[in-house]
């Protein structure tokens, strides 16, 4: 009890001392100071516009940081957290309360679709914008099936990503031209040729493509090696391939895993 009271007090102090902050004291206990963006004009508190909080879920590195700064520079948004950790994502969504999650579909560390879906189940509805370097039938199918509001590529102008984030915050979906060619003429999502891998099969394929043996995958997922083998066999049938190497090549082509 005492501890939480103190943290609120500290938060007050930080807000009041911050030269840039125009957030009134009464609100500061409920909203993190860095989640409100003061407009440059005048000290009138009515000009404080709540910005859309964006959480970036991507592998660490210069691209994530630079994209974070690009989003931050847009007056509509503020980046409230960045992580590549699926477990941390759930906690950060609860703690930082983002309006929109921007997730890279080609993350090395985990299956982004699965992690974001899990985080979304635990918290109230958030907008999700998925981004990828290039798309594949499988990536588009998974992102659309997961009901992510936005899907864009790094190859498109940044404005498209920013607008998708803005629309996702309002609960609107947006489809970029790069995505459209993966949809049928009627704009409806097509089933990928490779068929629909179950989430469990998908996870096993992703780990196999990262170079793990069946025994290692079994350990990582707490399944029996036999179950893992069966899931790999089933995935091979759906992907129309005959060997593990071909399954991994398929996963690389479909951008499920990096080479």
């Amino acid at each position: 009890m005492a501890a939480s009271h103190k943290s609120v007090q500290l938060l007050h102090t930080a807000v009041v001392l911050s030269p840039n902050s125009l957030v009134p004291r009464t609100q500061s206990a409920h909203i993190e100071p860095d989640c409100r963006r003061p407009t440059p004009a005048g000290p009138d508190t009515s000009c404080v516009v709540p910005a859309t909080r964006v959480l970036i879920f991507d592998d660490p590195g210069v691209i994530r940081e630079a994209v974070g700064r690009l989003i931050d520079a847009d007056p509509r948004f503020v980046v409230c957290a960045q992580t590549d950790d699926a477990a941390a994502l759930v906690e950060l969504v609860a703690a930082r309360d983002p309006h929109v999650i921007l997730c890279n579909l080609e993350m090395r560390s985990c299956d982004a679709v699965r992690a974001v879906t899990a985080a979304r189940e635990r918290a109230a509805r958030r907008g999700v914008v998925a981004i990828a370097h290039a798309l594949s039938e499988t990536l588009v199918y998974r992102a659309r099936s997961a009901a992510f509001e936005g899907l864009v590529t790094f190859a498109e102008p940044a404005q498209r990503m920013l607008d998708s984030i803005h629309r996702a915050a309002a609960g609107e979906s947006s489809i970029s031209p790069a995505v459209r060619r993966f949809l049928g003429g009627d704009g409806v999502l097509r089933e990928p040729k490779a068929g629909r891998l179950s989430p469990r099969e998908f996870e096993v394929v992703r780990l196999a493509a990262r170079g793990h043996t069946s025994t290692e995958i079994a350990k990582l997922l707490a399944r029996s090696p036999r179950t893992v083998e069966n899931q790999l066999q089933s995935a091979m049938r759906k992907a129309h391939v005959n060997s593990r190497v071909d399954l991994v090549r398929w996963a690389i082509r479909e951008r499920v895993a990096p080479p």
């Binding site: 592998d59 660490p60 590195g61 210069v62 691209i63 940081e65 630079a66 994209v67 700064r69 690009l70 520079a73 981004i131 370097h133 864009v152 590529t153 790094f154 190859a155 498109e156 102008p157 940044a158 990503m161 196999a208 493509a209 170079g211 043996t213 391939v241 005959n242 060997s243 593990r244 190497v245 071909d246 991994v248 090549r249 398929w250 690389i252 082509r253 990096p258 080479p259």
Partner: protein, 212 residues
């Protein structure tokens, strides 16, 4: 005088984000972004850049040769590779063609910014990942690449494996015993530094020896 920097990358989100990041730094100016070889030449003519940051996966052109052509039109431009997938072949090629640095996109922003400054001062700049794999620590020069250490026969076997052929199938294809094939695959894995056949195939794909 500010360091005049050019971004050569076909991913617009990436180059716009990098531009904003670099422009926020004192003494660094981004004089152009481009995704094609022709635009790169135009920028080189117009701005006489000091540094070109080159992504090595640009469709429709050979980024290494395009950057070299642009460099020839400048007074003292330096080329630095900035890529998501550093392959031994790419590292060796870029360094032998006069690039002064090789950076991976998994480096933090601060590292990239310092590398740009370092390259402008005339230093060679490498990501640790690159340095540990292919650069001689003593003189910062490139050492032989892993693919060059494989024998011709080993490369042949790796390529068959990368096409999804089983040991048995490879053996009948090249009229050797399955045991010889296994030995050659293991020898290749050891040289490349991987533990499994799948990783060996991925290595071959990364190196551009095989297609996925």
């Amino acid at each position: 005088m500010a360091i005049r920097c050019v971004l050569f990358d076909d991913h617009l989100v990436v180059s716009e984000a990098l531009r904003m990041m670099l422009e926020a730094e004192d003494g660094i100016q981004v004089v152009g972004e481009c995704a094609s070889a022709q635009t790169l030449l135009d920028i080189a003519d117009r701005h006489d850049p000091d540094i070109i940051l080159v992504d090595l996966e640009i469709p429709g052109c050979d980024p290494v040769e395009s950057a070299l052509a642009a460099k020839e039109r400048t007074s003292a431009c330096k080329l630095v590779a900035l890529t998501a997938y550093p392959s031994d072949a790419n590292i060796a090629r870029a360094m032998s063609r006069g690039f002064v640095g090789f950076l991976t996109k998994s480096e933090p922003a601060e590292f990239i910014i310092e590398a740009v400054r370092g390259a402008a001062r005339g230093e060679r700049v490498f990501s640790e990942f690159v340095r540990s794999r292919s650069v001689n620590a003593q003189d910062d020069h490139i050492i032989e690449t892993k693919s060059s250490r494989l024998t011709r026969r080993e490369i042949e076997i790796v390529l068959f494996a990368a096409q999804g052929l089983t040991t048995q199938q490879i053996a009948s294809q090249v009229s050797r015993s399955p045991r010889t094939i296994e030995n050659q695959l293991h020898s290749a894995m050891k040289k490349v530094g991987v533990q499994s056949r799948v990783e060996l195939v991925k290595w071959a794909i990364r190196e551009g020896l095989a297609t996925p």
